[in-house]
Amino acid sequence: MSDLLSRRQLIRAGLVATAGASGLGAVLAGRYGLVPPDHGGIYGAGETLTYAAQRLLMSHHSLAREFTRRQISTVFPVNGEPPENEGYRRQLADGFRDWRLAVDGLVARPSSFSLADLRRFPSRSQITHQACEEGWSFIAEWTGVLLSDVLNVVGIRADARYVVFFPFDDSWDSLDMPDAWHPQTLLAYGMNGQDLPTPHGAPLRLRVARQLGYKSIKYLSRITVTNTVKNIGQGLGSVSPEQGYSWYAGI
């Protein structure tokens, strides 16, 4: 009998301790940016564990591997088609002469940049590996401007938590601040020594070296800095979770 009681007490104490620890963990995690926007649902626990563990245990500035020119792939497959809308078609036909990248939200100086403006920033090139979520991958050289350089020019506010990217079509995605400030996160206008080809996101795409390919959103037209993504789309941080894919794709 006493054996039974002690076992019951042990189970109760264990449950209370677990509940307390999870509650405390959730509060701390929310406060320190360890909970991804798509933390709900049955898979939310896995998404949160993966994201929180990586943000807690790994350096925010660790560099993705870079390669030599000789390692650049011979094929560069793409998923998805260029935007279908009239706005994009006109810009494409026009060689993106009037294209501008708008940057707004929680910034001191909302601005817009032409391709020529962006090319005046210090240019960065990196030869990195890009893996598609499906399993295939390639190595390419990307050239562009550091996202952090652009963010510094517009001056982002201290309460900023996400940088949100809108392309010409209905897609959108967001980065947390560690990946937004990351020294390899590029706004790329060039690929393998040439202007960014249309299927790869002309005129400008994001390149996030430490995440899967789908995070490197193409055909950019606007960037918004915000402290919440709850009011965009279904509030899950990007269209990916709406289609069943993780917001955080560092894997």
Binding site: I42, Y43, G46, L49, M58, E134, W136, I251
Partner: protein, 242 residues
Amino acid sequence: MRVLDSSRHSVLVRITHWIHTVSFFALLVSGIAILIAHPRLYWGETGAVGAPALLDLPIPFTFGQSGWGRSLHFLSAWVSVLNGSLYAIAGLFDQHFRTHLLPARADLAWRPFRQAVADHVRFTRPGGDGSRSYNVLQRLAYLAVVFVLFPLMIATGLAMSPAITSVVPELVTIFGGQQSARTIHFFVASFLVLFLLVHIAMVCRAGFGDRVRAMITGHSAVKEGRSRKERHERPAFPATAD
């Protein structure tokens, strides 16, 4: 030969076994869901349609399953890794590996080893104490699964993460590249499935109900001290493997 204690399996082994059963099944199903999005395997850093493949699996490219597949794969990987770590750490401390899985030095000598293989091939069942302890082949198989195959699954899985390899690049270069890691991940998973099939076949041969009961309650129906006659009458006796 060593004999298992009063209970055939400890509480910890039983609990972690069934948690592992669920998480391994979830990993397998979700892993297949991810694989069929691109059922081609490559060697080196990169690979894509249009580049030479190491192995073209005879499965059609099937899209739209990798979203939930990936989410379930990671959720069950967390369960599997935490559960497996508990099992491994406890097994080191409570002498589980040393007592039940480490082969005796004498069993590894050529003659006894050859005898064990021959017995296994002929399905010769050990009598008495022999049935209550794992033979050398079982021990080596379990040790390989716990200390070689599962660590390899975890390492090759992490090697496919661009975020993790930004911190530990050696994790992917040691396997020869991201696509090599993916390919090794696939082959090691195949070995684990092969092990599972043999494991289930042996459990069935040893007496499915008895073995499953032993892994749930800890006790086998076969008690020590049973008379030779009883043993003879009930041949549903633990066979060489489970």
